[in-house]
């Protein structure tokens, strides 16, 4: 029993950090799309700019894809760990496992 | 011409039998076929005797009887009432009625009872 909660903590920790990344991503994306144009508009207006733009765009698409994949896996892992803990604590935890991290979600924005 | 008997009965055939039987004895009889408006018919006609069926549509005989007994006009309130019942629970019905006759009845019993009550 002692090592199981450790596992839970780890899975949930990873999930939370990925959640942080998901929140920061739009800010990073917005800065990456806006700042260079304010800084060096003329250099970004032609062929080089097209390279920069479409490169950035592809990176963003990959980042969203990777983030969703990682978050879905982490969420599944947390749920598995939690149900394992709930089983090991059987009698008092007979109720359905509580939704994790609820409070965090609610005040996130 | 004063009315002898007002009958409140919804069964047409029974009413017709009673009308025939008592009519041959010379009583003047009028029929009201429904519980609704029964009390108004009594007030209007002021009969000497009321023959009242217990099971009536819309208003039961017991209700009509209770209302009649509580009428402000003492003469009307004390009109004799003969209650007809098909259910056999004569005791309850008899409380305020002057006489109770259970269905089915012998015609002679009806004639005797009516004559006794009107004379």
């Amino acid at each position: 029993m002692p090592e199981r909660p450790l596992f839970l903590e780890r899975a949930s920790f990873r999930r939370r950090r990925l959640g942080d990344a998901a929140r920061i991503l739009p800010v990073v994306a917005a800065i990456a799309a806006l700042a260079p144009v304010w800084w060096i508009p003329r250099q970004l207006s032609f062929a080089a700019g097209a390279g920069w733009l479409f490169g950035l765009w592809a990176v963003l698409i990959l980042a969203i894809w990777a983030l969703h994949r990682a978050l879905l896996r982490a969420e599944a892992a947390t749920l598995r760990a939690e149900s394992a803990v709930a089983e090991s604590l059987a009698p008092p935890a007979a109720a359905a496992p509580a939704r994790p991290d609820q409070g965090d979600d609610d005040h996130a924005l | 011409m004063m009315l002898d008997i007002l009958m409140i009965e919804d069964e047409r055939n029974i009413a017709e039998a009673v009308r025939f039987i008592l009519g041959r004895d010379g009583w003047r009889l009028r029929l009201h076929p429904d519980g609704e408006g029964g009390i108004e018919a009594i007030r209007e006609n002021r009969p000497r005797l009321v023959i009242l069926d217990l099971m009536l549509p819309n208003r039961s005989g017991t209700e009509i009887l209770a209302e009649l007994r509580s009428d402000p006009d003492p003469a009307l309130a004390s009109t004799p009432v003969l209650m007809l019942t098909a259910r056999g629970e004569t005791a309850a019905a008899a409380e305020q009625a002057d006489a109770v006759l259970a269905k089915p009845f012998a015609n002679q019993d009806l004639r005797d009872l009516v004559r006794r009550m009107l004379e």
Binding site: G19, A22, R23, L25, P26, A29, A30, A33, L34, V37, W38, P41, R42, L44, S45, F46, A47, G49, A50, G51, L53, F54, W57, A58, L60, I61, L62, I64, W65, H68, L71, L72, A95, A96, A98, Q102, D105, D106, A108, L109 | D10, E11, N13, I14, E16, A17, V18, I21, M55, P57, A86, R87, G88, E89, A102, K103, P104, F105, A106, N107
Partner: protein
């Protein structure tokens, strides 16, 4: 390419779209939604964002302003980087509240206020009309490209002026056919979405094919292309327009990011048509990838068009003229279909979204307000009204686009018209985001923000775009469009926040605010209901909105969840809250709220109630949930026990009453028999009198016999020893025979019989005589008791999914009031009419026993504007119900 071939190909494509939509709707109706539900279909449907403006206009935009065109796609991409925590929550909250449109979302969040929704609808309509005109114009222009090229086409060139009208009419037809099938506006339009997904593929393939042709066919691959772009940049005539301007760049990214959230058509496909928020896991990256693919070749096409085509060619049409000039007819046709797809899919979805908003927030509330007085009596079919209102709105929206197109002459550059719509709807964004993220946001703030933003947009952007007034005069170096966008959005946001801070929301608004911001189920609030008898009017009202079947099914399920039998659940706050949200999915939050209040009683909500529930919800959400489950279970059990107990008590009373009733029913005919037989014994009667009295005796004896038959019948049925003569029979014949037989009852009354003959031809394996007996009984009852001056008997046969048939027999009399509905199937339960109709009051009791023996049911349907019975017959009788011969003989 001959113009006729083009027209024929285009028509074939249209037929294909109708076919796909029809097939998808059919598949969905049969429950085969698995592939329709795929996240990729959802992703592709999001591509209505890429309208004709994108398809044709992006290249024109790029050739005028270089890379600036990318802003229109970069904004949505940035929004989609927030798919995980932002868009998923938006979809979750919207689905939770059965939101039907962007206007409905705003209205639901800010205290279910309809005027606010009406205001948002107004902005949407004003912004969308030129945008729809733009789509029609693009189709007309693309037709003209082909028409001017071929000799026969040139002759028909004059005729292409009518193209706009034909396209508009076709689109309105498609939208009405597939967009107004179901009433619940929050339900999905599988046909439309599937057709649009297919169109999205055509768009993408056409554009990619053109891009590949341009880069590898016209130029010598990517390296050559890059050097051509660089060369174009060195041309001073080009370079001036191409240099990026940071203020415009930022403003356009902000506006396009806002547009993906607030444009009615985007809200429709992204939020309303989403089954759940999980599909955003795929759409989150796949939709930006789609946008990426759509814009990858824009700049190369623009550069090549500029190089190869004669000066003065319209850059908005490079995508068509470039392959046509190179002699690539098939490619040009594919591109034409792509552009056609882009234009049509935008118009269809936009018309559906706007029509929902117009009917839910303008027409229906206005109509309900007009006839507020006779609200109690309104029996008309609201469902039909709402659907027709929506159809009318679709026609109006498309027609307005066409009128605008004709009136404006279609001169403006494509990009300008698209931006006008984007900036208009962006004015809704502060209220929308504020409503979702900030509990302090309130209705007055929303009015102020949206109102001010709307006014500024009208003055600064919309009016100048249609040629009224001028764009703001600004010092040189400040871009008018960027200035207009920033100033309107800033003032809008400040007004929204400022007024919100000083306002105080009412309780309903605070509850909705809590639910939206925390993404928790809306909290049930107590309403003072005026007792149990409101359930039936509520059912009647719901039936008017949904139709009888859905309403009955929903009420029955809710009653079953409470552990009750029948169709009328208790009006618990839980039930009312759920019902209101479901209704909101059909007619919008504000109207649903008002209608439920009118029928079920007003909101009794104080601030302390509010704090209490809010507190409970916030601090002990999980504990409350667990307790609630247990409590619900207990409540259900208690209800069941109470019903069982009531039934037992009632049974004992019934037994006594039954005996007393039998006595009465036997004695009454017996009285006449005895009295008249005694009379007949007297000698002095005329022949005529004798005959009459004998007749009476005969009738009364027959009545006695009937009564005894009925009693015997009942006792055989009740003991389960009834013998069934099972055979296959057609319900249509049985119903006809029953109507014939029942017409003897009160034959002087003329009944209008409303039947749906084709649906009646259902074969059932049952005891035809017994079923006939039930039908005759129910129909005769209607003939006896229906008190309408123009009686109508409606008979409907349905085939439930479980097999068998359900026969509804409904008259238009005053029906049976709630308290008696449970009694009518009891023995001797004649209503206020003892003996008048000749029966002993055993008819329905026998019917119930017969139906039980046949393995079916007979029920009273409440809330149908008259007495209504549903007779349910199974496909075949239960196997144990056919006893052996010996058993059947008593």
């Amino acid at each position: 390419m001959p113009f006729e071939t083009l027209v024929a190909g285009c028509l074939a494509y249209v037929v294909l779209m109708f076919g796909v939509a029809f097939a998808a709707d059919r598949a969905a109706a049969r429950g085969r939604v698995r592939w329709l539900d795929h996240p990729l279909i959802y992703t592709l449907s999001l591509s209505v964002y890429c309208s004709a403006w994108t398809f044709y206009g992006a290249v024109g935009y790029a050739s005028r302003s270089g890379l600036e065109f990318v802003t229109i796609y970069l904004g949505p991409t940035i929004v989609f980087t927030a798919a995980w925590w932002g868009l998923r929550r938006l979809v979750r909250v919207a689905r939770m509240h059965h939101v039907t449109s962007i206007a409905d979302l705003i209205s639901a969040r800010f205290g279910k206020s309809n005027p606010l929704a009406a205001l948002v609808t107004l902005i949407a309509v004003i912004a969308a009309t030129p945008y729809i005109a733009l789509q029609l114009q693009s189709v007309r222009l693309s037709f003209e490209v082909f028409a001017t090229e071929s000799p026969t086409g040139a002759a028909m060139n004059g005729a292409t002026g009518g193209t706009g009208l034909w396209v508009a009419a076709g689109l309105a037809l498609f939208t009405i056919l597939f967009g107004t099938r179901n009433l619940a506006a929050d339900e999905r339009h599988h046909g439309v979405v599937t057709a649009i997904a297919l169109e999205a593929l055509v768009k993408l393939l056409a554009f990619l094919a053109l891009g590949v042709f341009v880069v590898w066919g016209l130029a010598d691959g990517p390296a050559d292309m890059m050097s051509r772009i660089a060369r174009a940049g060195r041309d001073p005539a080009v370079a001036d327009g191409w240099v990026l301007r940071p203020d415009r760049w930022t403003a356009l990214i902000v506006v396009s990011a806002a547009a993906i959230l607030t444009l009615p058509r985007m809200f429709q496909v992204m939020v309303v048509e989403a089954a759940d928020e999980e599909r955003l896991h795929v759409a989150g990256w796949a939709f930006p990838a789609y946008l990426f693919a759509m814009s990858l070749f824009v700049l190369p096409i623009a550069v090549m068009g500029r190089e190869l085509l004669p000066a003065g060619s319209n850059p908005d049409l490079y995508v068509l003229t470039l392959p046509a000039a190179a002699g690539q007819n098939m490619l040009a046709f594919l591109v034409f279909l792509g552009g056609f797809s882009a234009a049509t899919s935008m118009v269809v979805v936009c018309a559906i979204a706007l029509a929902t908003m117009i009917s839910n927030h303008w027409i229906v509330p206005g109509w309900l307000a007009l006839r507020r007085r006779p609200a109690r009596e309104d029996t008309e079919d609201l469902r039909g009204f709402v659907l027709n209102a929506r159809r009318l709105a679709i026609l109006a929206v498309v027609a307005a686009g066409w009128v605008y197109h004709e009136a404006s002459g279609g001169a403006a550059a494509l990009a300008a018209m698209g931006l006008v719509a984007f900036t208009g709807m962006a004015q809704v964004l502060p209220a929308m985001l504020g409503g979702l993220l900030w509990r302090g946001a309130n209705r007055r703030g929303a009015y102020a923000g949206v109102g001010v933003g709307f006014a500024l947009w009208l003055g600064l952007i919309f009016m100048p775009s249609v040629g009224i007034g001028h764009p703001p005069v600004l010092p040189s170096g400040v871009d008018p469009l960027a200035f207009s966008i920033f100033s309107s959005l800033t003032v809008n946001t400040l007004a929204f926040i400022g007024v919100s801070i000083f306002g105080f929301p009412d309780p309903v608004e605070r509850l909705q605010g809590l639910s939206f911001v925390s993404a928790v189920e809306p909290i049930r609030y107590s309403r003072t209901t005026r007792g149990e008898d409101r359930a039936e009017p509520l059912l009647a009202m719901t039936r008017r909105v949904w139709g009888a079947d859905s309403a009955l099914r929903y009420f029955q399920a809710e009653a079953a969840a409470q552990g009750k039998t029948g169709y009328l659940p208790d009006l618990t706050p839980n039930f009312l809250t759920r019902l209101e949200r479901r209704l909101a999915g059909s007619i919008g939050a504000a109207t649903a709220h008002a209608m439920i209040d009118r029928v079920a009683g007003g909101v009794a909500l104080t601030v302390s109630d509010l704090l209490q529930v809010a507190d409970e919800a916030h601090r002990a959400k999980e504990e409350a949930q667990r307790l609630e489950n247990a409590t619900n279970e207990l409540a259900r059990t208690a209800t069941q026990l109470r019903e069982a107990n009531d039934k037992l008590t009632a049974l004992s009373v019934q037994k006594d009453a039954f005996l007393s009733q039998i006595s009465h029913e036997l004695r009454t005919p017996m009285t006449s028999v005895r009295a008249f037989s005694e009379i007949l014994m007297t000698p002095d009667l005329s022949e005529e009198e004798r005959a009459r009295f004998a007749g009476i005796i005969h009738d009364e004896a027959a009545r006695l016999t009937r009564l005894l038959d009925d009693l015997l019948d009942l006792s055989v049925l009740e003991s389960g020893r009834a013998q069934l003569n099972v055979s296959a029979s057609n319900l249509h014949d049985l119903i006809s025979r029953a109507l014939q037989a029942a017409s003897a009852t009160r034959s002087e009354r003329v009944f209008t019989v409303d039947r749906d003959m084709p649906s009646e031809h259902v074969a059932v394996i049952t005891d035809a005589d017994r079923l006939l007996q039930v039908l005759i009984n129910v129909i005769s009852n209607s003939r006896k008791y229906c008190d309408s001056s123009r009686p109508v008997l409606k008979i409907r046969v349905r085939q439930p999914a479980a097999g068998g048939a359900a026969i509804d027999i409904i008259d238009n009399g005053s029906g049976i009031d709630g308290s008696r509905q449970k009694l009518i199937f009891e023995k001797f339960a004649r209503l206020n009419d003892p003996a008048r109709a000749g029966g002993a009051g055993l008819g329905l009791a026998i019917c119930r026993e017969i139906m039980a023996a046949l393995g079916g049911e007979i029920d009273y349907l409440p809330g149908q504007d008259g007495a209504a019975f549903r007779i349910t017959v199974p496909r075949r009788p239960p196997s144990g119900a056919v006893p052996t011969q010996e058993d059947a003989v008593p």
